[in-house]
Amino acid sequence: MKRTAFAAVSSIALIASSAAFAEPQAEVLHWWTSGGEAKSVAVLQKEFADNGGTWTDMPVAGGGGDAAMSALRARVLSGNAPTAVQLKGPAIQEWYEEGVLANISAVAEAEGWADVLPASIAGHMKCEGEWCAAPVNVHRVDWIWANADVLEANGIAMPTTWDEFNAAAAKLQAAGVIPLAHGGQAWQDATVFEAVALGILGAEGFHKAFVELDEATLTSDAMVAVFDQMRTMRGYVDANFSGRDWNLATAMVMNGEAAFQIMGDWAKGEFMAAGKVPGEDFLCASTPGEGFLYNVDSFAMFDVDGDDKKAGQDLLAKLIVGPSFQEVFNLNKGSIPARTDVALDKFDTCAHLSADDMKASSENGSLLPSYAHGMALRGAQSGAITDVVTAHFNSDMSSADAVAQLAQAVASSY
């Protein structure tokens, strides 16, 4: 009897104390474990601690997030979800449909997120109109990187159309330079493919094809032309490209072995780490065509119990979108802030170009999600498209066959 009384009193005390202090707690599942990325997370961790929170780190490395997703699945199935999870694009909606995401609209409205985030990016962070995730950064995918010396030596300017690119590549090939540094991994094939598709289909066509999965667009002549261009570009990569990692391809551009690389702005980090200067040693430009393909990392907030965890979630959301974190994090990571009101004084010229283009494309409606990096479509659909893209690029499949397969693969991926 005495014992139960004691237990009751102490549990009341516990409830009282947790209500009174509600020390913010957050368990954060992410896969930013390598060099610059780990540094970037440490920034957030420190800010969180400075605001009185307790951060439980749960890094799961490996497989580009596959391992982390397996861990998340296990945690959710056992009814013990982490506070925040590094998720992006439609995956957020997919988890929302499983009924496990939290509503952080209170924080988002207090902080005025709607005013500072580009509308199409904000759209990814909302689940049926309520905020459920916080964006961290914006990576641009449709970049073309070039070795400045190689271009100068061959009298070539950065291409602004795909025809110009082809002409430049032919010239480089004749001069004995590999025109396009590329790694034959499915996601890299898809990255090049979507850059080409954006250029040839235009922003509207890209949206129809890779966001709406409109069958007419997927089977259009323009899509055949996209595959034709991919076939042409297959001729511009060296014979040895199969399975090469993207950073080795970047190194080929750096040391002048190759002239161009089409890759997201994480490639910039490689150039910078090697002490190269943008505009002098290497050049950055958007790939030929109008538009901006974004790859936005974000943290989705999961439903958690307990005031301390909820307080931690709110604090975390506030800090993630806060201007100071957005600046420091993105300086480390090589991307640009998701919010548009952060001063870019400390950023390099490529980041400025990226930010300007993001603003402009947000206004004219050509700010589009990257399909190759899981922003536009769910895993099954984007995977089905990538299968066709990589099979076409790595064989002698005709463009017409590829288009037919594309439509079939998309139709059967639901």
Binding site: S70, G184, Q185, A186, N240, G243, G379, A380, D387, N394
Partner: protein
């Protein structure tokens, strides 16, 4: 009491592992079969939807490639590894001097993990680094050996690496088999003046039938569950030309969040294993019952 304990003890000792196998092997096979009949995506759902996942699976060109590769790879791997292993074993059986050392050398690849084998062969076969570059460096400018980057031939590079890894092991199995054949019979044959090749083909090899079966079973299951070798050597590429059912299943389950599709491919893989293993088990059990 003690008598009762004596009778029950073996059952009690075996019960935990029996239950574990029942739940974790057969229970989860049943679970996978169930999930393969649903439209599970990110998380498993349990509402049955019929055979949609199997329809999708057999309509997918990528699965076609993966499934075809299983047979190309499996048959070539098993046949070449067995033939090579047998030849090596017969050669070692000729009472040569440093047999122990040579046997160890051939057996050693088995000690490496498939990841190491795959990575090493990836570099050896890479046209810009390995054999092709070396031979060209010797002055044969037209020499070409680019299988690993050629989608039509890449699957054969997996066969090469797998054979390299496993044939030493097969050799050891066969060597043990060769040694277990009764010396007396061989001596009698030699006295009768029968040529050596005839002794091997008519006496020794036929008496090694059980060893062939064991080697086949071991190699077949290695072939079907091959995963790490493909991941390390080609990553399933170029394109998806070297995908195997195991890598397909992994991609669907863990990269694409398509658990239903992954489950259906796992069930098909299991069906393949059963078609090989069940006849073997059947013959084994029958032989025991009669013996």
């Amino acid at each position: 009491m003690t008598e009762w304990l004596e009778n029950q003890l073996p059952k009690m000792v075996l019960a935990p592992s029996f239950i574990a196998v029942l739940v974790f092997v057969y229970g989860f096979i049943g679970w996978t079969a169930w999930v393969s009949l649903t439209r599970s995506k990110l998380l498993p759902k349990y509402e049955l939807k019929g055979f949609v996942q199997y329809d999708k699976l057999f309509a997918s060109p990528r699965w076609d490639t993966a499934f075809g590769n299983l047979f190309t790879f499996g048959i070539l791997f098993i046949v070449i590894a067995m033939v090579l292993g047998l030849v090596l074993a017969i050669m070692l059986d000729q009472k040569i001097r440093v047999e122990g050392a040579i046997r160890t050398i051939y057996l050693y690849p088995m000690a490496l993990s498939m990841i190491v084998t795959g990575t090493a062969w990836k570099w050896i076969l890479n046209p810009g680094l390995g054999i092709e570059a070396t031979v060209r460096g010797w002055g044969f400018e037209n020499f070409s050996f680019d299988w690993v980057v050629n989608p039509d031939f890449a699957i054969y590079t997996i066969v090469i690496a797998a054979v390299w890894q496993s044939s030493g092991f097969v050799m050891a199995l066969f060597l043990a088999g060769l040694r277990s054949v009764d010396e007396e019979i061989i001596k009698a044959a030699q006295v009768d003046g029968i040529p050596t090749w005839r002794i091997y083909s008519s006496i020794i090899i036929p008496s090694m039938a059980p060893i062939f079966l064991s080697a086949f079973i071991v190699l077949a299951h290695l072939a079907i569950k091959s995963f790490d070798l493909v991941i390390a050597l080609t990553g399933g590429g170029p394109g998806y030309s070297t995908d195997l059912p195991a890598t397909y299943m992994y991609a669907m389950a863990f990269s694409r969040g398509d658990i239903g599709q992954a489950a259906s491919s796992a069930m098909v893989m299991m069906a393949v294993v059963f078609t090989i293993v069940v006849p073997y088990l059947y013959s084994e059990l029958r032989a025991k019952n009669h013996g």
